[in-house]
Symmetry: C2
Subunit: 255 residues, 2 copies
């Protein structure tokens, strides 16, 4: 009856699943997957997650993949505070935020983040002549492409601009939702929408401080301050035994 | 207590929602949104769907967006045959297929489809000097970009290659799932996974007949034949009063 989470600690999608487990008050066995060592592309890991991405939840021996659906699974199966609204209209809205986290959140954060965090590993692979072999083992073509791009000099200026435009779009949509409703993304209740969007809203503020500073997103700033102060978030978003601090990363040269 | 669907008939995501409604045996008021006339970007339509995409479901005056979540909403709220498994593990798998329909299905089909279907409207806009104004009203930046690309000569060879690679990836994953399980995508039961993936598996076979002909996807071919023969699918996937035949489209010049 074990519950196990394979995750990469302080990375965005791993924080989504870890926060959900902590909000539900569940005990689980933590398996840290070191992305810098490409542990997510080993045959053993691909056997539980054919896409070679983190996190993966194992419950009673069965693997559940995709952090958004892991979280919906956790909320459906386990006791603890409900994290989905009972109103189906609000539940559909919650799911749309989950999709926004993927389509805009993850897509946007990956450009500035990967351009910093993947460089050291890629340089080491180049030096040992292992780059092509390691990249060829990556299951998702989009990820292979991005590794090759970083190895070849990095993302284009247009890709950075698109990523920043996505961040602005997300902040505008969040602000609108909070101004029309709130205090949480789908209304009165703290839900999976907040859990799934948090790593991106938090990270975007670091890449684009103007989103917080320019006064155009006051409700988003208040939401971020409020949610980041939750004891579960403090625990999950800070370095710990389960989620070691990541080594300092260097940036790609100016595109 | 009305149920209304705003949709674009025989386009992929509209077929998803229409098929779900027909499978549940629900009556609804059909509103055809003419994409060639940009009716999905009018202020009236944006009031119910801020992304300016189809379909949108209206139930008791409330708008539900995103075809995947529209379908989950319909299945949760209305009587009729269940289209989601009761086992939460299978439900998570069903949701992952919904995400694959978006991330690979829609992303892949859009390149060859838009390069054909949008040309006439874009040429007419160019001729009347309205292109910039109309494109500026499109809410999603990715859609604006694609319109501008088509207007400027079309998608690149790399974009077509990526789209075809995504189609191959989807067929391989579908084949694997059906060989390990079946007869439907998440096992014994016909679910939203089948409904949400169908327009893409069907359309991919038209763009890449080798996916069906080369003998590498026998279970996928059998699944496609079986699902396409359902009376609801015959009704939804063929031209009708609700879903008029689309005018013949011409192709962009070779990229």
């Amino acid at each position: 009856m074990a519950l196990e989470l394979y995750h990469a600690g302080l990375t965005t999608c791993s924080k989504k699943a870890r926060l959900c487990l902590h909000e539900k008050g569940l005990d689980y066995i933590s398996h840290y997957v070191n992305l810098r060592e490409f542990e997510n592309h080993t045959p053993e890991y691909l056997a539980i997650n054919p896409n070679g991405v983190v996190p993966t939840l194992i419950h009673d021996g069965k693997a559940i993949v995709e952090s958004t659906f892991i979280n919906e699974y956790i909320d459906e199966v386990f006791p603890g505070p409900a994290l989905s609204p009972s109103d189906p209209v609000l539940r559909a809205q919650m799911r749309s935020w989950g999709k926004m986290a993927d389509d805009y959140g993850l897509a946007a954060v990956r450009i500035p983040t990967w351009s910093r965090t993947k460089l050291a590993a890629i340089d080491a692979l180049k030096e040992s002549n292992n780059l092509d072999a390691v990249v060829a083992r990556i299951p998702l073509m989009d990820h292979r492409d991005k590794y090759r791009q970083i190895a070849a000099g990095g993302f284009s200026e247009k890709e950075f601009e698109d990523a920043y435009a996505k961040m602005d779009f997300v902040y505008d949509r969040v602000e609108l939702a909070l101004q029309e409703g709130g205090p949480y993304l789908v209304g009165e209740m703290f839900t999976l929408a907040d859990i799934n969007m948090l790593p991106f809203i938090d990270q975007f503020a670091k890449y684009r401080p103007q989103l917080i500073d320019d006064g155009a997103h006051p409700q988003t700033k208040a939401w971020l301050d409020r949610v980041m102060a939750r004891p579960t978030v403090v625990k999950v978003y800070n370095p710990s035994d389960e989620a070691p601090a990541r080594p300092p990363a260097r940036s790609q040269s100016a595109a």
